[in-house]
Symmetry: C2
Subunit: 262 residues, 2 copies
Amino acid sequence: MTAPMEITASSNKRIKHLMALIQKRKARQEEGCFVAEGEHLFAEVPDRLLREIYVARSFYQSSREAVDGKDKPVYVLEDRLFDKVSDTKSPQGILCVAAVPQWDADQLISLDAPLFLLLDEIRDPGNLGTMIRTGEAAGIDGIWLLPGCADPYQPKVVRSAMGALYRVPVLEEKPDELLRRWKDKGIRLYGSSLDASLSYDAPDYRHPTAFVIGNESRGISDEMLSQCDERIIIPMKGQVESLNAAIAASLMMFEAARQRRM
Amino acid sequence: MTAPMEITASSNKRIKHLMALIQKRKARQEEGCFVAEGEHLFAEVPDRLLREIYVARSFYQSSREAVDGKDKPVYVLEDRLFDKVSDTKSPQGILCVAAVPQWDADQLISLDAPLFLLLDEIRDPGNLGTMIRTGEAAGIDGIWLLPGCADPYQPKVVRSAMGALYRVPVLEEKPDELLRRWKDKGIRLYGSSLDASLSYDAPDYRHPTAFVIGNESRGISDEMLSQCDERIIIPMKGQVESLNAAIAASLMMFEAARQRRM
């Protein structure tokens, strides 16, 4: 175990490094790391991903046993400095730097009857995080992000995903090559469209299945829709024009989960 | 049609009145009115609920036809004043004061096979608004709020509900009397609990049905659970501890909708 290091100045290079990881996608991509803040996200981080631990002095004084057993560098920050670095309204006094999990796309695609989400320009971090969290609960095998989605490792997504980001394979890929490989493996692509007539609970999702979820305002692009094997619709009453993207994704994933339980 | 009135000073009593309606639950309750902001929410407001219209000068100059036909008082605000009053990050230059819709509880309870939501201490405005929006799409007959829920007429709920608040009956009531009346009418109460063994897709929701949704962190209180006819669970894989309250509500409502379509 290394002794904790004290940091008192915001000009410290560790603090600058940490702020860059919190604020900049480019910094996260270059280092292959992201920041997970709060007791819950720290408690759930797998040892293989944990890199560094940052705590507020008052947290360290009251709860040092939470971090001392980890055999990873611990940095103790003045409370005011910790609050400044924190991305949350009510900082809990602990955050960590974790490695971006690496997943084997070929292995996932080769699963017997995988259940995937394919996200096309999902921009809202809260939606993206909720889909990852709900996806884990529904038993999704992987979530694939096409270019134009929010960064899954930005703080708000990490928070909304509530630990699921450590465990659900999230992969970023370009569409052409990915869709070709999926088709080769017989993975059927379902896209929801307000023009569709096939209800989302009609197809048999016990086969290899991927649901496409489109942009929050515009839905799935025509180009992507033309790639789908089936267009489906979630029947809606009243005058609602559309469902929230995370709600729609949840309904589809849990319909697949329901069929797969039977 | 009354001529539009110009307002240039934030000290104007109309502006103070408007700010109170935006910021204070008490003001909304005393007047039985709330504020709906943005072009979409203005376009959807039913005439019977519309009371007053406030527009930014630049909006009025470019789009006066949107408001002139309404036969309701129109107030034109200096753009800077409108932006100050607005509750949104990117003001669209139009908002209105609408009457809180009144609903007949007895009539709703007497429906043949009603489908209700009962919300117990739902605190997050975004969750509440999303449940109202999704509830309309699922064909819910009414959403009942017990004491301790967020105010359904605060701006963030109004925004998230995206117009559904004009159309879905939302009622605030105390539990004892309400639950007695529901039981008299044979409305079955379903509460989700992590200890339950009955899957949420097993009961027959074509009968009179109400789903209880509990607080975002604590779930349904023991007292309320003891009032439920059945405890149900949404089967979850992975290590997710719980679903977001709006997601859980959506899955239950759309399961009922699915059964009722068959």
